[in-house]
Every structure is written in C-alpha cells, then in structure tokens.
Amino acid sequence: MELKDFSYARTILEQYPPERRFLLAILQDIQKHYNYIPRPILEMLRDYLDVPLSKLYSVATFYKALSLKPKGRYVIKVCDGTACHLKSSQSIIDEIKKVLKIVPGSTTGDGKFSLETVNCLGSCAVSPVMVINDRFYGRVTPSRVREILEEYGRLENEQTWK
C-alpha cells in the first residue's frame, strides 16, 4: 500500500477534548476525511484517548458507518428498506452485482465503486432508491442500472456485458 499522509488526523483529534465520549465523533470525522479508518490513526487515537487498541477496534467494527478498509471513489448505496424491498430493490442489487461483479459490502478492484445496502433513506415515495455519493436516483428499474452507472464513466469490466 502506498504511504499516506496521516498528519491531518492530528488536526481532527485536537478538535475534541481527550475524552472517551468523543470517540465515535472522532472516528466519524476520520472516516469522512480518509474514506476509512487507517490503523496508524487508530494507534494515534489510542495514545490520545488512553483507550486500549482492542476497545477502539471493537467500536470501529461495531458501527456500520465506519470501515477499516478503504471505500471506492463512488459509493453506491441501494436502499433495501421495507418500502424499497417491496418494490423489488433486490433486483436492483442483483443487477449491480452482475454489472460490477461485486457483492454488497465490497469494492471493485480498481477502487472505483463500492456497493452497500442501507436501511431506509426516507425517500420511500420514490422507491426503489439508490444513491451514488450524494446523488439520488428514484424509481430505479433493473434496466436503468447500467445507464446510471455509465454516467460515472466507462465501466472497466465492459467486456463482461453481452
């Protein structure tokens, strides 16, 4: 893995007093900035908050918003809340799986797309819904999936399509 600059993490930490109660908030800020929680930062946090690494690890793996692995440049969130599920969100997920060859919770080899399923985005009126980074797509059909993904540039695994 390439060597990354983790110096900004120090700035994030120091916005918070060194108390355990701010752990989740700090981790969320780190997740937002780096797209994941790098181990060196967890170690930095251990010293800052004086909390054992094992406890930090358990918090970082417990909450869904946090990830120990880097996420893709485009994070596709397919809503699989009840309303979307009733309106066949599973078919949308299946179609993305087929096109990108990844399962929910993983990232394409080129680091371009991550696929996640989420539970309700509150947009039930336009279900099924998917969100790529911050852009909403409502009333998605399996046939629109490919069209939408193409907006994000040519797909590397084009050859897998018929």
């Binding site: 406890k55 309303a83 989420v118 947009s123 279900s127 399996p142």
Partner: protein, 607 residues
C-alpha cells in the same frame, strides 16, 4: 386573490421531495422572482420547508396566502408559475392536485382527502415554517409554553400536567411520559441528563427525521421543559449520521436558541440553566434501544444492558436519565401551551393525542401523515392513503418497524392505538406503516425483517444472536423451495424462546414478523412448503414468469424493459419469455398494461 401584502412560497424540501430535486425548483424560483422584479407591494418570499406530507406527488409548492397547492413541480414549470400565478394571479391548471374522491382538480390542500382527515400536533410547524428561522417558530407561538413554564409553574406542576395529558412515549413501547419524568425527578443525585432519541433506524420510517429537519425548535423547547421538570442541566440529541440535513438544521437551531436565551445560563431570567449538544449515531439499529444509545453516547460499543435498574435511576454515566424520542419531545410544548385537558380529549381512552406515521409501500399517496389515535387502518389506508397503488388488492399492513407485525385484511377496521395493535400481535413502534398488496410475499417479508435483524443484533445475548439466525436459515430454506412440513412448528417454538429469553427489546420483539405472518398467512407458508409455489411470485426459485398469448397485444413494452433480454418475439405478435435467461425481476409484469404476464409455480402447476 389578494394583490397586496406579503406572499410566501413554500417549497417542500423534505426527503421525498429532495430526492425529486425540489432544491433545484427552489433555486429557480428564487432566481426567476428576482429577475421578474415582482412589484414592490408584493413581497415574495421563497422558503425551503420541511416535509409537507404528500411525498408521492413531489416536489410540492404552496403559495400563501392564496392557498394554492402545486404538485409534481419541475424546474421547467417555474417560469409559468412566476408568469401566471405570481404576476397575473392565475392558477397553473396542470400542476394542481387531482382529487380522486371528487374526480377533479383542486386548488387548496384543504380540499384533498389526504390533508382533510389529518390532525397536526407534532407536525404543527413542519412544512409551514423555514426550519432555519427561529423567528418563524416564535411567530407561530413557539417558546411561549417555555416562558410560561419557567415563570409560572413549579417542576412538579409540569410533571402533573404531562401525567394528566396521558402522553405516552412515541418511540415504540408507549411508556407513560409523565411517570418516567416523575421517577427521574424523585432521584436525589446529580447531574441528571435528558436525551432525545433521534436514531430512527426502522426501515420505512422517516417521521422523526422530518420533525428534526422541518421543526427543530419544537424538540429543543420540549427538552428544556422536560429538563426543568426533572432538574437536569445537560441534554443530548442523538441523531443518525445518515440524517445530515437533520443534524445541520438541529445544530443551527441550537445556536439560535442559545443566542435568544432559550438555552444556556439563566434561561429567560429564571435562574434555570440548560444546554444540549448533538451526538451523531454510528449506524447501528440497536442504538435505538435506550441503554445501547446511552452506551454509544459514552463512546462505547452500542450494546444494551439488562434493565434491573431503570435508566431513570441509573442511565447515562450511571446518572438519572430521561430518554424520550423526537416526536414525544415535540408534543411537550403543545401540551404545556394548550393544556392537558385539551390534549387528552384527542384520541382513545388509553392512547391520547395524535401519532405521526410514514405511510409507505404499495399505497397511492405515499407520505408523512399525522392522525388522532384511534383512527382505523381503513381510514388511514383508503381515505388518506387513497387505497392501493395500481388498483391492486390490499393484503396486509405492517406496523411497528422490523419488530412489529403484519395485520391482515380481516382486521382492517382495527383502531390504531397502542393496545389494539399489541392485541393484534403487532405494535405501534415509532410509526412506520407499510402497506402490502397481493404482489407481496409474506414469507419473503418475514425473511426480509429477520435478515435485517440478524445483521443488527449486537450479539451480546445468545437467544437473539443465535435464535434470529436459526429462524432466518429456516425461512431461507422455505423461500428457496427446500422447506419441510415441521419447519413451521420449529419457527414458532424458536420465536417464543426469543421473546422469553432475549436481553433487550430488539430480541424480544424480533420474532413478531414471523409469528404474525404465521398466524395470519399460514396458507402462504404452506404453499411454499408443500406445493413449492410462491403465490405472490416473489420467491425466485419458486416462480416462473410466462406470457399469456391470448392476452398479449404484442406492444413490446416488456421486451424493452427486460434487463436480461429474456423476452423473445416481434412487435405485433405475442411475445414469450425464455425461462433460461429470465432473472425474475418482474419488470415485465409491472409494465404490462394488459395483464398478460403471469406467474406459476416451479412444478408447473398453473395458477
């Protein structure tokens, strides 16, 4: 139509309308209005508000005081609205809402059945005010109740008033709010905390989100009143991290409230100090459970604890804590303002006031609604909701979120209150109401909820962690066509065990979706197990799609919409589905206007 005075244009920026790009409409309206140089005597103000409710027809735009209500507004409609309605006082016909009950278009929202039957208390300001403006809130009577409480009432009198109102917690269990406060007030050690639970994680529910986004001050005011009643000086609002707009609006509101002296030291000159801060949730459903939520605020893993000692005695950091959900807090100022007697005149004997629901699923008018307790499911689904989408048949309604239950058509006249829902095997929950039609497989629904719960179980206690998984495995087998006749008994037995032995509410209520579907839809389970058929055509392994040649008009719509190129044939001739290519997504069935796409079981028994 008034030609003078102020005019306000309210653009709905609730979650439904936002995903329909209402922000673009808002920006365009602002730009066009300043361009058109609307006459000086008409001061036109465009406000981005919280959810108006009728999400299905979004983006929604309302013009006041003309009382005009436009639906499905696109950016390209904006010039016409400015030209016709704002400059020439005419109505843009094509944007009006078509009210099915009278069979024509209506101008005012008050003429629609969707709004007519509702009663807005918790949502009193949502969609009416600009959530970023504390002046808007004060203008509609906000912080008046707080002023009266602090200057005229003792903490004990506040609690008595809340007790008398009969307010019960809106977060799920329906615990009497006044009683909770009294227990906490009785504790004589400090500091005490008050918490607002805004970790709304139920799939298909967005009530609390809409309140926090659309009327954040009502929550803050409720919390200050509650804190005064129990003697707390520090509060926390725990909000799901996904709700970035709720976090933004709430943070902004807190700052404004501090500036105006509604939060902080010596509030309104009463010598009472109180302040709140926001804690962002980490995306764990179990954190909606009160003790797990407190652990999460403390910076720990959000696991619940056994409640031998209640959190009103030992809660956050082991100190007395009152935790209520968003909607409960939002109700408090109204009660203090209008009195317990008035509030308790609304609703049923044991469930007072109103309840907010997110009405979603296969219903015509998807959206956010608030109704008096005791209204029947039929009124909610058919009058307010406008019935089932696409004219299909109603099958069930699911209430109470993932741990609620499915209520069948035979109970459609059930009044919606805490006790009636519990007796039917479901629960009020936080207020998700998901309508299902005959294209919904109840076994799949049960499996869906258990999948969700098995992922969200924190794993601390064995019954929940292992029990849900075993139940899920059985449901997976049934949905895939490998179900055994004795599976249903095993499911019921495991369900009872989970109810008895789990540590927290998540595990105790987790079997509800399975137990209620087993109770009311046993036939459907039997069809899966014995006949290897999914009557709704949802379980892919048990379903084959085919086209009825006698009904097919050869329009080709199914072929166009099929993502896997499984529909064969030529326009003008009946089409056919190639089973080997079909991924069973049902797109063809949804688009067919002639009902020619049919389903049958795997064993070729024609339905």
């Amino acid at each position: 139509m008034s030609k003078h005075g102020n005019r306000t244009i309210l653009v709905c920026c609730g979650p439904g309308c936002l995903s329909n790009h209402s922000m673009d409409v808002y920006e365009e309206l602002k730009a066009r209005i300043s361009q058109a140089k609307i006459k000086a005597e008409v001061k036109t103000e465009v406000k981005a508000t919280g959810c108006h409710g009728l999400c299905e027809k979004g983006p929604l735009v309302r013009i006041e005081p003309d009382d005009i209500f436009y639906t499905g507004v696109k950016v390209s409609d904006v010039p016409e609205i400015v030209e016709k309605t704002l400059l020439n006082h005419q109505v843009v016909e094509k944007l009006l809402y078509h009210e099915p009950s009278v069979g024509r278009k209506v101008i005012s929202p008050k003429q629609t059945r969707f709004y007519k039957k509702q009663m807005k208390l918790a949502l009193r300001n949502v969609g009416e005010i600009d959530p970023s403006s504390i002046e808007d809130y004060i203008h509609r009577g906000g912080y008046k109740a707080l002023g009266r409480v602090l200057s005229e009432l003792s903490p004990d009198e506040v609690i008595t008033e809340i007790e008398k109102s009969g307010l019960r917690g809106r977060g799920g269990a329906g615990f009497p709010t006044g009683w909770k406060w009294r227990q906490c007030a009785r504790m004589q050690y400090y500091p005490k905390y008050v918490i607002c639970n805004g970790d709304e994680g139920d799939p298909g529910a967005f009530m609390d989100r809409c309140i926090m986004e659309g009327d954040p001050h009502s929550v803050i005011e409720g919390m200050v009143i509650g804190a005064y009643a129990v003697g707390s000086h520090e509060g926390f609002i725990y909000i799901r991290d996904e709700y970035f707009l709720a976090i933004r609006n709430m943070s902004h509101a807190i700052e404004q409230a501090r500036d105006k002296g509604f939060l902080g030291k010596n509030i309104l000159g009463s010598n009472f100090d109180f302040d709140v801060q926001i804690v962002r949730g980490g995306g764990a459903f179990v954190c909606g459970e009160s003790t797990a939520l407190m652990a999460s605020i403390e910076g720990k893993v959000g696991e619940p604890r056994a409640k031998y000692i209640r959190s009103v005695e030992r809660g956050l950091w082991g100190k007395p804590t009152v935790l209520n959900n968003v909607e409960t807090w939002a109700n408090v100022p109204v009660i203090m303002d209008r009195g317990a007697e008035w509030f308790s005149s609304i609703g049923t004997e044991n469930s007072k006031g109103t309840k907010v629901f997110s009405l979603v699923g296969k219903v015509q008018n998807t959206g956010l609604i608030e109704v008096p307790m005791g209204m029947t499911l039929r009124e909610i689904i058919f009058d307010i909701g406008g019935g089932i989408a696409g004219g299909r048949k109603f099958k069930a309604v699911q209430t109470g979120g993932p741990s609620g239950g499915c209520i069948p058509e035979s109970l459609i006249d059930l009044p919606v209150d805490f006790d009636s829902l519990n007796n039917a095997g479901s629960m009020m929950g936080s207020g998700g109401m998901i309508v299902m039609d005959d294209r919904t497989c109840m076994v799949d629904v049960a499996r869906f909820y258990l999948t969700f719960l098995s992922e969200e179980s924190c794993g601390k206690c064995v019954p929940c962690r292992e029990g849900i998984r075993r139940m899920l495995e059985i449901l997976n087998e049934i949905c895939e066509g490998r179900g055994q006749p004795d599976d249903l008994d095993t499911l019921a037995e495991l369900g009872e065990m989970l109810k008895e032995a789990s540590l927290c509410g998540l595990g105790k209520s987790a079997p509800n979706p399975v137990l209620t579907t087993l109770r009311y839809f046993k036939d459907e389970y039997l069809a899966h197990v014995n006949e290897k058929t999914c009557p709704a055509g949802v379980c892919k392994n048990l379903t084959v799609y085919y086209i009825d040649e006698s009904q097919c008009k050869g329009c080709g719509l199914c072929q166009k919409n099929c993502p896997s190129h499984a529909v064969e044939g030529q326009r003008g001739q009946p089409f056919a589905i190639d089973e080997t290519k079909c991924i069973k997504c049902g797109s063809c069935m949804d688009v067919c206007r002639f009902g020619a796409v049919r389903i049958r079981g795997r064993d070729k028994s024609w339905k």
